[in-house]
């Protein structure tokens, strides 16, 4: 066994041809207080003695010899250029230093929205999701040793069906955007149509960008219905649907927070044999009609609102549910109920023949690893809230958002950009650049995102996008936080007028 030492790090090679990506790692690396030759990795068991004993058993004289099958000329002849190792104390202090450079929702009042929200997470969610048995197990291939996960996912599938009114739910996809794309791919398989997909301009711009990326190599036309007034006119949408159209996608409440008319749009889609895809907000279903009530064929959502922390972009939860008749075209894992050899009720992975490990290039999706632990969180969250809890959260969001909209536009010079009913989020028209405006009122809370952040929207909404700002209000916000924001905005606007 070679000693665990490394030479002092030679300079890293920087490829100057792509300088926008590559930089010298060393400037970021803190020096370890311990010499590397002394460090002991906490996660490795084998002492030098047991190591020697094991090597004898294997019949080799060194660990080096174990790697004989790796051709010598392909081996790395230097240590990797990585920062030196840190002990747990050093690592913690290093990370606390870095974390302090960020400003998160617990340090700043958050009115940030755009599909990800600062909803309250009950402690019980963390307690269950943190249990080693959920946390450190894998995909439940051995049903006998995985009933905990299997039953929880079966409960998750049921809860999603109850929430949406749909017939079947899978056991999770990655997140909202890819769930929507999988719905489109499924609609193409079901309808046999690849010519056209219709998507409202009020669907999350990042979801639409993801769809464009996935469909790059198809000759599918993605038709975007303009929504300059915040929502789409169902008649406009209906006129675009033809017999080449695989799917019509409606987000409701939409990216701007506004309510669309999904029932009318989905009826028109059905008439022309296209599938209806509903992108919904799970929290809104505490008070709003369900995707199934609207006539959706496939319902997808970002599940972050259901007990999942913000954590800068993921991991989140892709919710995917559909009608029974499309079951065999569904992507993702499914859990089914059965009995064991003694007749006891139990749960297993089922319909695996749809998946990549069996059907390979003809699989309904390439997904393997999914978002199991986040599905556990959503299951616990929905179990805790129950019908009344979810309704209360939705009502609080809705009322507080309306109060905020009123206050933020009263004597401030700010206006609501869209005169449409909204749920928990709305778009403000600022007197000038939205991002700069948000920055100036930052002492009272984070608001945003500004719509010009999204290149797609900047193109579609033109110059006006620059002044538009999303504001989201969850049940976690209080009247005094809203009042404080309104006051700050008022004083900012009046001082701007004086200038």
């Amino acid at each position: 066994m070679p000693p665990l030492t490394s030479n002092s790090a030679p300079p890293i090679i920087i490829d100057r041809t792509a300088e926008h990506i590559f930089f010298d790692i060393k400037t970021l690396s803190r020096k370890s207080s311990k010499r590397e030759s002394e460090f002991v990795v906490a996660y490795l068991f084998n002492t030098p003695e047991s190591q020697a004993d094991m090597l004898r058993t294997v019949g080799v004289s060194s660990v080096e010899e174990l790697f004989d099958q790796v051709p010598r000329e392909l081996r790395l002849d230097r240590p990797l250029q990585l920062p030196p190792p840190l002990s747990e104390i050093e690592l913690e202090s290093h990370l606390r230093d870095i974390a302090r450079q960020n400003v998160g929702a617990s340090g700043q009042v958050s009115f940030l929205g755009g599909g990800i929200y600062d909803h309250f997470i009950p402690a019980a969610v963390d307690a269950i999701a943190g249990r080693s048995e959920f946390y450190t197990s894998y995909t439940p291939y051995q049903a006998e040793a995985s009933q905990g996960s299997l039953q929880t996912f079966f409960e998750y599938q049921t809860l999603i069906c109850q929430l949406t009114g749909m017939d079947v739910s899978n056991a999770s996809l990655y997140e909202g955007a890819t769930a929507m794309v999988e719905a489109v791919l499924m609609a193409m398989r079901v309808t046999g149509r690849r010519g056209k997909v219709i998507v409202l301009g009020s669907v999350h711009p990042e979801y639409r960008e993801t769809l464009t990326t996935y469909l790059r190599h198809f000759d599918t036309e993605i038709v975007t219905v303009p929504t300059p007034h915040g929502t789409a006119d169902p008649g406009d949408v209906a006129r675009l649907i033809d017999d080449r159209t695989a799917a019509v996608i409606v987000q409701h409440p939409n990216f701007f927070g506004c309510l669309e008319s999904p029932r009318e749009i989905f009826a028109a889609a059905k008439q022309r044999g296209a599938l209806s895809i509903s992108v919904f907000d799970p929290i809104s279903l505490g008070i709003l009609e369900r995707p199934a009530d609207h006539g959706a064929d496939i319902a997808v959502a970002e599940g972050q609102s259901l007990g999942i922390p913000l954590q800068y972009g993921g991991p989140y939860l892709g919710i995917f549910a559909c009608r029974q008749e499309y079951l065999r075209q569904m992507p993702g894992r499914l859990i089914g109920e059965t009995v064991d050899r003694e007749g006891r009720r139990c749960f297993v992975l089922t319909l695996g023949t749809r998946e990549q490990h069996i059907r390979r290039d003809k699989a309904t999706s390439n997904i393997c690893t999914n978002q199991g632990l986040l599905a556990v969180r959503a299951t616990v969250y929905l179990s805790l809230l129950g019908p009344r809890g979810l309704r209360e959260v939705a009502e609080l969001c809705c009322r507080k958002a309306h109060y905020a909209a009123e206050q933020l536009t009263a004597n401030t010079g700010l206006k609501l950009a869209f005169d449409r009913p909204f749920f928990k989020e709305f778009v403000l028209r600022c007197p000038d650049d939205a991002a700069e405006f948000a920055h100036r009122v930052r002492s009272a809370g984070d608001i945003g995102p500004g719509l010009s952040r999204f290149p797609t929207l900047a193109d579609e909404l033109g110059a006006s996008a620059k002044n538009l700002l999303l504001v989201a209000v969850t049940e976690s916000r209080t009247k005094s936080q809203i009042d404080c924001l309104a006051k700050t905005i008022r004083s900012e606007c009046s001082s701007a007028t004086k200038k």
């Binding site: 099958q69 051709p71 940030l112 894998y138 079947v168 972009g313 991991p315 059965t338 064991d340 809705c398």
Partner: protein, 503 residues
């Protein structure tokens, strides 16, 4: 085993397996929210009444203790890395350090909204930038995208990146090649990325057949996808030649990084001819497996592919001594492959792991993983021979063919009986080139004693009565679920009318 059986009977909470819906009692609730502190206007004044639900959602009603007891009891029906040896081949079930949990939950990290301004995220961007650098270095492929949510997502992202590169060069390449032993995600990802799939038979010993490969290479060849070390736990001996053949016809080599745990700091995909690869952070770098996810599947690619990567990536600028990080979209980017930055919570754990180990520690991980696998292989080879390869890398594929023909004991029997003894089962019947395959990956975070005990247990099992083994496991909460019934009479959700008493 009897003692264990009795324990199971005496200690098990019999309500544990009731469904959460069967525990529901009208009027119970766990969550109470504060009274509305803004004017409580009727919803019908705020929203069109024809959009409002006519009733509350149909969810179960439980108290917090109900919920905690239910899911805590359910959790005890799982085996996990923290509680059991979990030698599931190809999945790298290594220990997940607890420090990662505390640190990833720090304020400023866990509560960071993706649309916070760049000023407010400089620390996070610094971490992600450094992670891009480290992953590029470990791969020997300098340009990194952290966006993909899992390995399969990484495969598809890299293939779209390659497609954009070829398209930009005016080349129309339509074929993606892969060996028969490839993970199912390889062909599935190639299909989603719009390529035609060509499967190679390979040689009888599982290695790529160079002559067969050559016969398929032409100016339509886009990418050859290969897992190295391969699914037999062997280093593809001709990988450099394979890469040359691909490059000679203008194609690219994709390395499925599922087995990176064998070669960290030993050799790098970029050094043995790979042009693109993905990592499975949840395998190699200890993001937890979480009952099947979440993962993170960052990709690393050669410099000439950097401009096509999905955005955003993190870049750094230094102006007048001040360092600043920003999100950037590469100039010829394929676009987004998901919303927001990526599975940052998992990437963060990977970062913490790399910062804990450093270069020497990382190399030691692979050395011990390979030593553990070889040790266990030798301890078992007289009863469960390994048909291919003299030595293995981080995992080996043994065959129960001998025990099947001599005693009627199959790989499945062994796998199921191992559960009774408190071991999770190895991956069975994969890859197909080995009859009665048992794919064992012990990882580096197991001791010699655990491996000895595991080997002894296999020997014990092979001396048990075959009939007894056919009905194993005997000490688990359930045994041999009827998968045919599950597949024929699909019950994919609980429904009120078919509710059972459950007692």
């Amino acid at each position: 085993m009897l003692v264990r059986d009795e324990e199971m009977t005496f200690m098990r909470n019999r309500q544990a397996t009731n469904l959460v819906f069967e525990l529901s009692q009208p009027g119970r609730r766990a969550a109470a929210y504060p009274a509305c502190d803004v004017p409580a206007r009727p919803l019908s004044e705020l929203l069109p009444s024809n959009q409002l639900a006519s009733q509350s959602p149909d969810l179960p009603e439980l108290t917090e203790p109900d919920v905690i007891r239910h899911f805590t009891n359910l959790s005890t029906l799982n085996m996990s890395v923290d509680t059991h040896f979990y030698p599931l081949g190809s999945c790298t079930m290594k220990y997940n350090p607890k420090r990662h949990e505390r640190l990833a939950s720090l304020p400023g990290l866990v509560d960071l909204h993706p649309y916070q301004t760049e000023d407010a995220q400089q620390g996070m961007l610094a971490i992600l930038f450094e992670l891009q650098q480290m992953l590029g270095e470990i791969a020997g492929l300098p340009a990194v995208s952290l966006q993909p949510a899992a390995g399969a997502h990484g495969e598809m992202t890299a293939l779209l990146t390659a497609a954009a590169y070829f398209h930009d060069r005016g080349e129309r390449r339509t074929k993606v090649l892969f060996p028969q032993s490839a993970h199912g995600t390889n062909p599935a990802s190639a299909a989603i990325a719009g390529f035609d799939c060509v499967q190679l038979k390979g040689q009888a010993d599982g290695f790529v057949d160079l002559e067969e490969l050559k016969a398929h290479l032409d100016d339509k060849t886009a990418v050859f996808m290969i897992t190295n070390p391969n699914t037999l736990g062997l280093f593809e001996r001709d990988i450099a030649k394979i890469a040359h053949l691909l490059h000679d016809v203008g194609g690219l080599v994709y390395i499925d990084g599922a087995n990176m745990n064998a070669i960290l700091g030993i050799t790098r995909p970029g050094d043995f001819g790979g042009d693109m690869m993905h990592y499975n952070v949840h395998k190699t770098f200890t993001g937890p497996h979480g009952s099947g996810g979440p993962g993170a599947g960052p990709i690393a690619v050669r410099d000439f592919l950097a401009d096509y990567l999905p955005g955003p990536i993190v870049t750094r600028t230094q102006l007048e001594g001040a360092t600043r990080y920003q999100l950037t979209t590469p100039p010829k980017s394929i676009g987004r492959v998901r919303s927001h930055f990526g599975n940052v919570g998992i990437l963060l754990r990977g970062y913490l792991y790399l910062r804990t180990l450093g270069a020497a520690g990382l190399k030691a991980v692979s050395e011990q993983a390979v030593l553990n696998a070889n040790y266990l292989r030798v301890k078992l080879e007289d009863v469960l021979p390994v048909p291919h390869g003299e030595r293995c890398m981080h995992e080996f594929v043994a065959s129960a063919q001998k025990s099947k023909s001599e005693k009627g004991i199959t790989a499945l029997d062994i796998a199921k009986r191992l559960l009774d003894y408190g071991y999770y089962a190895p991956t069975v019947y994969f890859p197909l080139v080995v009859p009665e395959a048992l794919m064992v990956e012990p990882t580096e975070t197991e001791s010699q004693q655990t491996l000895d005990d595991f080997a002894d247990t296999i020997r014990t099992i092979l001396n048990e009565s075959p009939e007894f083994l056919h009905s194993a496991p005997h000490a688990t909460p359930v045994s041999r679920p009827d998968e045919v019934k599950a597949g024929r009479q699909l019950v994919l959700r609980w429904k009120r009318h078919c509710a059972r008493n459950g007692k």
